[in-house]
């Protein structure tokens, strides 16, 4: 009985080791070949993690500066009704605990693709500022100058950060139904393009 149990456990160990060794590198040919079954196992157990702590290089500090927009009935344009807000919020704004700041910052970093900005960040900011009709946002990044430059300049990190401002983009605050409709349309469109590509192949 014991050898059988050991055999079964050994089979599980092998399967699990293959998953945890291969899945952190999803672009490898091994994952592409074993693909479906191993990733199904890994994603269900939550073991398909790319281990990329502060790598390949530590990310710059990034945040959004945004303004709330008010629709104008006479003209087909929007106007800013308030000064700049920031997301994730700066410490002291609504942030009290470091842990919360960490989670919100991480959540923000994982939402920076254009599609996620449209589907998640903008709707969240619209919910946060209930009643606003749109959001005008800039992606901002803060990089740090080199140590040598910092030594010459003197001062603190406050003076050593170079702020870069991305182009502004305006987003309407849609109702959840409208937003889901537009997501469905996008999904249909991408499914159709995939089918056309497959047929062409």
């Amino acid at each position: 009985m014991r050898p059988v149990i050991k055999g079964l456990i050994s089979a599980f160990i092998c399967l699990h080791l293959i998953a945890v060794v291969l899945l952190p590198n999803p672009k490898s040919i091994a994952v592409r070949s074993f693909g479906s079954w191993i990733s199904a196992y890994g994603s269900t157990l939550g073991v398909n993690t790319p281990w990329m702590f502060f790598s390949p290089s530590p990310a710059f500090g990034q945040y959004l500066a945004y303004e709330l927009l008010e629709g104008s009935e006479d003209e087909d344009r929007t106007e800013s009704i308030e000064g700049s807000h920031f997301w994730p919020p700066r410490r002291g704004q609504i942030i009290s605990s470091l842990n919360r700041q960490r989670l919100l910052y991480h959540s923000f970093l994982t939402s920076l693709s254009p599609q996620r900005i449209r589907d998640f960040l903008v709707p969240w900011l619209c919910r946060l500022h209930e009643g606003t009709e749109g959001i005008s946002l800039h992606k901002m990044s803060k990089s740090v100058i080199s140590i040598e430059k910092a030594q010459i300049m003197g001062g603190s990190f406050e003076n050593w950060r170079e702020v870069r401002e991305g182009p502004a983009s305006d987003w309407p605050c849609l109702s959840s139904e409208l937003r889901e409709d537009s997501q469905k349309q996008d999904q249909d469109h991408s499914d159709r393009s995939k089918t056309t590509e497959d047929m062409e192949r």
């Binding site: 456990i9 945890v20 269900t44 990329m52 790598s55 989670l103 990190f157």
Partner: protein
């Protein structure tokens, strides 16, 4: 002749495999790991529970209808078991915290660890955007602990048994107590997982120019969203930045080899503890660092535990 040689080689390999995965191990180190890890996870989720509304409610960051859309296709599980209603989030959080506390105190066995692992992932699935290193590593440790009989030491359960059976008998039992098959496998999986995690993150860092230049830690200290206080004074001690950057690289890349050499192991684990304490102080990743350091207890056997107790 050749076949005989191959057979011998196979048998030797089999013995090595069996010795590594199935040999009985002391459960003291892993029991202490259970106590520390479950306590840390309990505190982490207790603090997170304050922000349940913003993190997990439908009107918060992630409406339930958007959860699946947010997950990248590669990471989508076969089944979703996240709570869709706000009241269910609250209920799961309460159950999760109660069970975690019970596990930390050693009241429950490994079967409950399974349940806690399921609840942990149900909350993570509910808002994929907030998952970071500490959550992912916790998922692994809960999964592996669910194989291990980790409540035999440092637990109310063992204290209770001691009271019933008497001190002497209990001592005898503790001395003879070693792991069953599944527990041995679980302990090894934790050790191997640590090696895989460090190896991958070390190799990923080797792709980045900041790590090669020795300035990556400078970039991290200058990130206003990570550093809890102003570390400008490090501009006067650039050598510290270089040592911290390259030290991290060397530690992570070579961990998977050096931790298996008995003579080097204690020094390497000490180095890891210093590294993670520095990460906690400079980036505010307290729970992540705690959870990683706690996992080193899986490398401690009875002898080293006794030695630390004097």
């Amino acid at each position: 002749m050749r076949l005989k040689g191959l057979r011998k080689l196979f048998e030797k390999g089999l013995r090595l495999w069996e010795g590594f995965w199935f040999a009985p191990q002391s459960l003291e180190g892993i029991s202490l790991f259970r106590l520390v890890f479950c306590s840390l996870l309990f505190f982490q989720y207790s603090i997170r529970a304050i922000d349940t509304k913003i993190l997990f409610f439908d009107k918060g960051l992630m409406p339930a209808s958007q959860v699946i859309n947010f997950m990248p296709e590669f990471y989508r599980p076969l089944f979703y078991w996240f709570p869709r209603e706000d009241w269910a989030v609250v209920l799961i959080t309460i159950c999760f915290l109660v069970l975690l506390l019970g596990l930390a105190l050693g009241l429950f066995s490994r079967c409950v660890m399974w349940l806690v692992w399921i609840l942990h992932w149900s909350l993570l699935q509910r808002n994929y955007s907030i998952i970071y290193g500490a959550d992912l590593i916790s998922g692994f440790w809960l999964l592996y602990l669910s194989l291990i009989d980790s409540h035999r030491h440092f637990s109310l359960w063992s204290w209770w048994k001691k009271r019933i059976k008497g001190v002497r008998e209990k001592e005898k039992e503790c001395l003879s107590s070693s792991s069953d098959l599944l527990s041995s496998v679980g302990i090894r999986l934790i050790q191997v997982q640590l090696c895989i995690t460090y190896a991958y993150t070390g190799w990923e860092k080797l792709k980045g120019s900041d790590w090669w230049e020795g300035t990556a830690v400078w970039q991290i200290l200058g990130n206003p969203f990570l550093a809890p206080v102003d570390f400008s004074f490090f501009s006067h001690i650039p050598l510290a930045i270089v040592v911290a950057t390259w030290g991290t690289l060397i530690f992570e890349v070579y961990f998977c080899v050096l931790v298996w050499i008995k003579k080097i192991r204690p020094y390497w684990l000490l180095l890891g503890t210093i590294m993670h304490l520095s990460i906690a102080l400079t980036t505010g990743l307290y729970f992540f660092s705690g959870i990683m350091i706690a996992a080193y207890l899986a490398f401690l056997n009875k002898v080293s535990l006794r030695a630390t107790q004097g």
